[in-house]
């Protein structure tokens, strides 16, 4: 019906009625609006009152949960943190803590599920990936743990992300070392070293120490030296450099660093066992250097050391030979004809220098056997004069070098055949393993 058609059939009373209806409806709508506004105010007041109370309750339960975690009560922590979440469901930190509590309580599956669901809404979160890595590590899933650690390192971190990433990298490195994945650990250490700030000594020291654990003394020594260039008296760096140099066979360097470390201030504040250990290393390096026939020495001094080392090596060879001769009959080398054939020269050689009485020769009847390294060694000794004097060596430098090499080879071979030596022989063995390293700096 059109607007104009509406107006015309209404009588005067109808128009009055219509006007009254309009006024009534308008008043009703205004009243409705007022009621709505009042209800909105009341609702807002009620809601805010509960919301603030809810926040207090959530905070209270969160604190109880954190305290329970500190008190090592994970189940109580789970209950408290669940209650905290019930009152404030959108708190990611509370959810993370709850998941951590579940992990602490041994509920690994639930914790993993929780963290995975958190990860869905926080893709790339470093913290969550770190927690998942730890859970995977606890479950023995190495590949998953490493993947998660990598994601944690390159993930998003709140606050000082650089520091957190570095800490996570260290955690990964330690995990790799524990699982004997040393190559990968070394790679990560190099990355960490490259990222480390130059002015943060503690970080660099930690990296260097971890390099030692990863059996990378070379990089560790390099890093310690870098630190010492700026802080020449830093005891930890001196000790570390000494250790690394010692591991590398650079005993002169090790002696220098260890000496400085033990002479520095504050040494006596260290535990006695630690001091004793350092002194032992220093003494060892000192003694080793005393045995080392360095070419930097005067010829007479060098020759004196050669003669000392010669005596040691020959005794070592004799002892080893004696021990081999007295070994079990099933040893095929001992039962072989060449061995039997050569037993006499070995026996006679050994009897000249051995500290132990000679043993009867083994039965010569046997099949041909591989060449006994001891025999070869003995033959080499037999090619040298039985007695060599200092003047003989002074006159013949080539003889000196030959003797030195023979001494080294004796220690190496006897170590292979008769096991690790002790005492000065052990030191000679170390020299023999890397003679050029001893005085390298």
């Amino acid at each position: 019906m059109s607007f104009f058609a509406l107006k015309s059939p209404l009588s005067a009373s109808d128009r009055i009625e219509r006007r009254r209806l309009i006024v009534t409806d308008s008043l009703a709508l205004v009243t409705l609006f007022a009621v709505t506004a009042l209800l909105a105010v009341l609702t807002n007041y009620l809601y805010q009152s509960y919301a603030s109370h809810q926040v207090k309750l959530a905070d209270r339960w969160l604190q109880r949960g954190e305290q329970a975690m500190r008190d090592n009560k994970p189940q109580a922590a789970i209950d408290a943190l669940s209650s905290a979440l019930a009152f404030d469901p959108n708190q990611r930190n509370t959810e993370i803590k709850l998941a951590q509590a579940l992990a602490s309580a041994g509920r690994i599956q639930e914790a993993t599920v929780y963290f995975n669901s958190l990860l869905e809404s926080q893709q790339g979160s470093g913290l969550i990936n770190l927690q998942l890595a730890r859970l995977a590590a606890r479950q023995g899933d190495e590949s998953q743990a490493m993947d998660d650690y990598q994601r944690a390192i390159y993930g998003n971190w709140e606050g000082d992300g650089y520091v957190r990433r570095r800490e996570v990298r260290f955690e990964l490195i330690k995990y790799l070392i524990e699982h004997q994945q040393l190559d990968r650990a070394r790679s990560e250490l190099l990355v960490a070293s490259g990222n480390a700030p130059e002015d943060d000594i503690s970080v660099q020291l930690e990296i260097a120490r971890t390099m030692e654990l990863a059996q990378d003394p070379g990089d560790a020594l390099h890093l310690y030296k870098t630190i010492l260039r700026r802080h020449p008296s830093l005891r930890e760096a001196l000790e570390g450099a000494g250790r690394a140099a010692f591991q590398m066979g650079r005993y002169l360097e090790a002696k220098r660093y260890l000496s400085h470390a033990l002479e520095g201030p504050g040494v006596d504040q260290e535990p006695a066992a630690a001091i004793a250990k350092k002194r032992d290393s220093l003494n060892e390096a000192t003694r080793l250097l005393a045995l080392y026939p360095s070419s930097r020495l005067r010829p007479s001094q060098q020759i004196a050391r050669v003669l000392t080392d010669r005596t040691l090596a020959m005794a070592r060879l004799a002892e080893c030979t004696q021990d081999r001769a007295a070994g079990p009959a099933k040893d095929s080398v001992q039962a072989s004809a060449p061995a039997a054939k050569n037993a006499s020269p070995l026996q006679s050689f050994a009897s000249r220098f051995s500290r132990h009485p000679a043993q009867p020769a083994p039965n010569p009847a046997a099949n041909p056997a591989p060449i006994d390294p001891l025999v070869t060694l003995t033959q080499r000794w037999q090619q040298l004069p039985v007695k060599i004097s200092a003047s003989d060596l002074e006159k013949d430098p080539e003889l000196t070098q030959t003797q030195i090499q023979l001494i080294y080879d004796t220690e190496l071979v006897t170590q292979q055949v008769c096991g690790a030596p002790a005492g000065d022989d052990a030191l000679l063995l170390r020299i023999a393993q890397a003679p050029n390293q001893v005085e390298e700096e």
Binding site: M1, L6, L10, D14, R15, E17, R18, L21, I22, T24, D25, A28, L29, L32, F33, V35, T36, L39, A40, L42, T43, N44, L46, Y47, Y50, H53, Q54, L57, R60, W61, D79, A80, S82, S83, L85, A86, F87, P89, N90, L102, Q109, E110, V113, Y114, N116, S117, E120, S121
Partner: protein
């Protein structure tokens, strides 16, 4: 009130008055709208007010539902504490004390506040012209807040639905709207209340259409949507837009994983049967006890529910949404989840059957989530080849119970999508819900809400039955054209001669513009008597024409015309002018009688 219809297997409780306050009946009689006068002086008034009021109803319902939920939370925190734990004595005493208070209030002050609220809203719509009193709204608010907050195993959604419907009823009454409009407002308010309670507008709209009014109508649908959206806007203003539950994205690795969800559907169907049987058995038995026991039944129910909490499962107390969230995050073993599902059935049955006001939506979701979580956890352990996410199973489980127990399959799908905001779950939800619905229908012929109405002595329309009813069309009553058909340009003399030979009681006339006219022999004789014999038939006819009808139209669409026309020609949609057949009143009535 009508007497209860005897339904096989469901005997109404003798002497029990339906959950409608008799005062409401008298109040309805007092109300006398004057629609004719209003219609005369302002014919478009109701229409214009309708949409505006829908928004007001939505906003007010949203605010009231927020108040309702806050009240529940406050009562829960103040009575049961911020974190109920097994062994706390208050768990035993508080629900019992609250039950006593609620019983007194319901029996003496707010008798219409009993029940969940859905059937009460339907009763208001179909029996009392959409009338819900202010006292009922207040009573429902107070008693449900007390019972739910006090630890009873009930939910806030159903009471929110009734509160919203009550608000709509009050608003529409104050504005003196017509009876037809009054009836329409109750479902509008119901949708608004439910939408705010669930924070899910689509589900609320679908539920009201699927369960309360049972049909779509453009006039009502627009207002329902407007009200629901308004209430959700208000609710989200306070609660934020986050979905109620969050689960990771579900990625099905292969169709075989749907089998696992199918198992959940079957289990949900069986669980809904157990739940329905328990409620259907206990409720009338408790109501048949002496009237004085009605004062203490809620207290005893509270004591039992509290005992369940005291002895190890406080999770079953209250709506349990935070427990559902914990289940979705896999914090319980499958055995405990199963135990929670069973205990929740027991607790809800006791709570509801004792007459304590409160709803069943939240317990239904809880039971479904626990069941789904249990099955998901079980499959995760024993069938590791399935990539099972416990959260997705719990979510699907919620929908499964919703579909099977409340028998609202469409609503259940959208409800799951809305409360999770996760569309990736849609395939498992549809599959599991459909299976659960079919299993439930096969095992339990009557939905639980219909069972309740029968127990209350009411006879409300069953929306499920209406959905399943076979709709008859004109093609079902069609018969071939046996009467003579004449062109409009035939003369009266020609027609008269042919009629004399054919002896047909009815004739059809096809006019030059493609329209049709039908008349009986008497009408033709009367026309022919006052016209010359050479008058074309078309010119002699009355001006009205037979309506355009097609075979696919509902059968009842022909009824209004059969008083005027002796037969109605049914035309072909593709070829205008070609008749498929004809129908008469006898044909239509005969077809209905053969149903």
């Amino acid at each position: 009130m009508s007497s209860a219809t005897e339904t096989p297997g469901v005997n109404p409780v003798p002497g029990v008055v339906a959950d409608v306050d008799p005062v409401e009946v008298a109040a309805e009689r007092r109300y006398r709208p004057n629609p004719s006068e209003v219609q005369r002086v302002a014919p478009n008034r109701d229409e214009r007010l309708f949409l505006v009021l829908a928004i007001f109803i939505g906003v007010i319902s949203g605010l009231l539902v927020v108040c309702f939920r806050v009240a529940i939370n406050w009562i829960q925190v103040l009575t049961l504490g911020s974190a109920p734990r097994p062994g706390q004595l208050r768990l035993l005493f508080v629900p019992a004390a609250v039950g006593l208070v609620v019983a007194v209030l319901v029996q003496l002050v707010f008798p219409a506040a009993r029940g969940s609220g859905i059937n009460q809203t339907k009763a208001a719509l179909y029996i009392y012209n959409g009338y819900i009193s202010f006292r009922t709204v207040i009573g429902k608010f107070i008693t449900s807040a007390l019972s739910i907050g006090g630890g009873f195993s009930l939910g806030p959604e159903d009471p929110s639905l009734q509160i919203g419907a009550g608000v709509a009823s009050m608003v529409s009454r104050r504005l003196n709207l017509s009876r037809e409009r009054l009836r329409m407002f109750a479902p509008i308010g119901a949708a608004a209340g439910l939408a705010a309670a669930f924070n899910a507008p689509i589900s609320a709209i679908l539920f009201v259409v699927e369960e309360v009014i049972g049909r779509w109508s453009a006039a009502v649908l627009g207002s329902i949507v407007l009200a629901a959206i308004s209430s959700v806007v208000v609710a989200r203003w306070f609660w934020g837009p986050e979905p109620m539950f969050r689960i990771p994205v579900v990625t099905l690795k292969g169709p075989q994983e749907l089998l696992a969800y199918a198992v959940l559907g079957v289990a949900g169907g069986i669980a809904s049967l157990i739940f329905s049987k328990a409620l259907g058995f206990s409720r009338p038995h408790l109501r048949r006890l002496a009237r004085w026991t009605w004062y203490i039944q809620p207290a005893l129910a509270g004591l039992i529910v509290g005992a369940i909490g005291f002895f190890g499962a406080p999770q079953v107390m209250g709506p349990g949404y935070n427990v559902i969230d914990q289940a979705m995050h896999g914090q319980f073993t499958w055995k405990f989840l199963l135990a929670l599902a069973l205990l929740k059935i027991v607790a809800t049955t006791i709570s509801f059957s004792s007459g304590t006001p409160g709803g069943m939506f939240a317990p239904t979701l809880f039971i479904g989530a626990m069941l789904g979580g249990a099955i998901g956890t079980f499959e995760k352990i024993f069938f590791p080849s399935f990539h099972v996410s416990v959260g997705s199973y719990a979510l699907v489980g919620m929908g499964v119970l919703f579909a099977a127990f409340l028998r609202v399959p469409l609503t259940s799908v959208f409800m799951v999508l809305e409360v999770s905001g996760n569309y990736s779950i849609v395939l498992p939800v549809i599959l599991a819900n459909t299976i659960a619905y079919l299993v439930s229908r096969g095992l339990q012929p009557y939905p639980i809400l219909e069972t309740f109405t029968h127990q209350d002595g009411l006879d409300l329309p069953s929306m499920e039955e209406q959905r399943e009813e076979m709709v008859l069309h004109l093609e079902d009553a069609l018969r071939p054209v046996t009467c003579p058909v004449f062109p409009g340009n035939a003369t009266l003399q020609e027609v008269s001669q042919q009629l004399g030979q054919a002896d047909a009681p009815i004739l059809l006339v096809k006019l030059h513009d493609g329209s049709w006219y039908s008349m009986n022999r008497n009408e033709f004789t009367s026309l022919a008597a006052i016209q010359t014999p050479d008058t074309p038939l078309e010119r002699a006819l009355k001006p009205d024409r037979v309506p355009l009808l097609f075979p696919d139209l509902p059968l009842d669409s022909a009824i209004p015309y059969l008083s005027r026309w002796p037969v109605l020609p049914i035309q072909n949609r593709a070829s205008k002018g070609i008749l498929e057949g004809v129908v008469s009143l006898d044909d239509v009535l005969g077809r209905y009688q053969r149903r």
